[in-house]
Symmetry: C2
Subunit: 138 residues, 2 copies
DNA sequence: GCAATAAATGCACTTCTGTTGCACTAGTTA
DNA sequence: TAACTAGTGCAACAGAAGTGCATTTATTGC
């Protein structure tokens, strides 16, 4: 049994061939990927299967969904022991306007946000847009 | 000439009947509205016209577009003298998970966000999700 | 005022992403 | 091995965004 298979079982997800492939793909990519990215990476992949696989991964906290403002849902592997839904674990995402890639800046936690009286904050989404490291040439 | 007509001309937008109606609708609503909201408010309205009107309004800085994570673009009137694209003017948006409405919290500016070396921030989008004043019953 | 021009609008159509239903296959358990 | 459950593939649909083109409305020059 490979490392990936073990990982998936730890998350209580049956390690099927497709899921292993998708997990591997996500692990290799350092950026957040859209469903269509995976689809075009594996010609054989069925959109529905990918869709449902990602849903499963999300439920089991293997990946977290990212809304980077492009209107397309993207996904990235959660860090080990990450609790995406807990406010303290929320990190910000950076979307490059040049290469169109979105990365998790896991080191950069979202600062405490104050909301007016009467409002109850449950979740925070923070996306910074601009030019990424690769594209800025630094 | 009405107040709204004057306003539109100030923004260098020709005040057509449709545009005046849409502007008025946006001004009355205190929340960010989606294209479909306006469409259902005016039965006669053509989706394409609304779409292009909002695009025009956006270009002329009459409204700003809001991405609240629902995947649907929403729009809200800019404040007088607002410079949406300038970082200092960026305010946060609150999306209520109960009533599904999105409001601009214009009083709440987005705190300065640090990004790693090599990254250049140009724009910041901050959406807080939770329960709004109306729904929390306070 | 009228013709020429430009802007705005309405209709039809396409594309893209997300989503669901259903049948089939593979894998697990008794 | 039979019965069951989870996973996959195909087809189809829904909703929003976007485009092309013809028509209407407004503006400008004569």
């Amino acid at each position: 049994m490979t490392e990936i298979e073990k990982t998936l079982e730890n998350y209580q997800v049956r390690p099927t061939a497709m899921r292993i492939l998708i997990y591997k793909y996500l692990a290799e990519k350092e950026i957040a990927v859209a469903l269509t990215d995976i689809e075009s990476a594996f010609a054989k992949a069925e959109r529905t299967t990918l869709y449902r696989t990602l849903k499963t991964f999300e439920e089991k906290k293997i990946v977290h969904q990212i809304d980077d403002g492009t209107g397309i849902s993207k996904y990235a592997l959660c860090e080990k022991g990450c609790n995406c839904e807990i406010e303290q674990d929320l990190h910000l995402h950076f979307h490059c306007n040049n290469c169109n890639e979105t990365v998790c800046l896991t080191e950069h936690k979202i600062p405490q946000i104050k909301v007016p009286d009467g409002y109850i904050a449950e979740d925070v989404n923070l996306v910074v847009k601009g030019i990424c490291e690769k594209c800025s040439g630094q």
